[in-house]
Amino acid sequence: MTRPEEWEPESAALVRPYVITKGRGLPDDGDLSLITLVTAAPDQGQRPTRLSPEELRLLDLCSAGYLSVAEIAGHTRLPLGVVRIVLAALKDGGYVLTRPPVARARLADKELLEEVLNGLRAKFG
């Protein structure tokens, strides 16, 4: 017998992933990576009521600032692929803004590594 405090009314497991994603496929790999930062677009005054509960939930979650795609998945406990698909739809609809991580070609950027190193040293002495 499940006690009331053990109920998980919002458990993702109760809803099949393809229902949440409306059968859509994964967005392009470069889009919405684990560390792509996402925030709700300003001017959300007139939200259409067409958004699904999951779309609304994700939009709510990132309406107070930027979160990475991984953090959004972690906070909502939805599988990563599902989060990506729902976010892609929100992005297409203009509801969220995304900031992709630095492109791979620029990763050897010494300046960036120096900044990370200095930041770590400043933080931890």
Partner: protein, 209 residues
């Protein structure tokens, strides 16, 4: 010691009202997000390491891996698919007014290769946590790291009562290049974890130069 994260044990954060200001990336640091992988075999201390330096409560996310089963039984209407759930955990560190660093703890097993692909793409490098008593368990992890072309440093996570193993024999056992950094670290200790991370980034910088 550190166990792999269980999704059911994590605090639930379902709505924005549960998130404080500190849960969001600080406004300036949204310009550049970078990531470093913290890898190692099962229970080597990845979660502990990330938890010791993350500014947010470490989070966990899961991915469902689907693959075709070998036999498909159409008559029974059974979809020929099996799924595996893989969890990874991660933390965050605001580095500067411009940069936010994510640390991803990655399961080292070969069967999670899809997830590796995802995590390795665009990573600055990797810190390989090693248990000196279970060196052989680290071979597969280092193979994967090399396969994805990531630069890495080794952090030997000391557990209570473990004898110190000389660096030379560890290098030999793990077949490391001469310039691959090896540091000892206590994954429970913030300063110690940060020092290991600093060693890795210094090395990455030297490689980039």
């Amino acid at each position: 010691m550190a166990s792999e994260p269980s999704l059911d044990e994590r605090p639930r954060l379902d709505a924005r009202r549960n998130l404080g200001e500190g849960d969001y990336v600080s406004a300036g640091a949204t310009q550049t997000a970078v990531k470093i992988l913290v890898v190692g075999h099962f229970a080597v201390g990845k979660t502990t390491f990330i938890g010791s330096i993350s500014e947010i409560e470490p989070l966990s996310t899961e991915e469902t891996m689907t693959r075709a089963a070998e036999a498909i039984d159409d008559l029974k209407g059974v979809r020929g698919k099996t799924t595996t759930t893989v969890a990874m955990d991660f933390g965050r560190l605001t580095i500067s007014e411009r940069v936010v660093l994510y640390l991803f703890g990655t399961p080292g097993q070969m069967r999670f290769v899809q997830m590796w692909e995802d995590m390795a793409r665009g990573a600055l490098g990797a810190l390989v946590l090693v248990d000196p008593e279970r060196l052989a368990d680290s071979f597969a992890v280092i193979d994967l790291i090399e396969q994805y072309g990531l630069d890495y440093a080794i952090a030997v996570n000391h557990f209570d009562g473990n004898p110190e193993r000389a660096e030379a024999s560890l290098r030999e056992a793990l077949d490391l290049l001469d310039d691959t950094p090896v540091v000892t670290c206590d994954a429970r200790d913030e300063q110690s974890s940060a020092a290991a991370l600093t060693t890795l980034v210094s090395y990455l910088l030297a490689r980039a130069g």
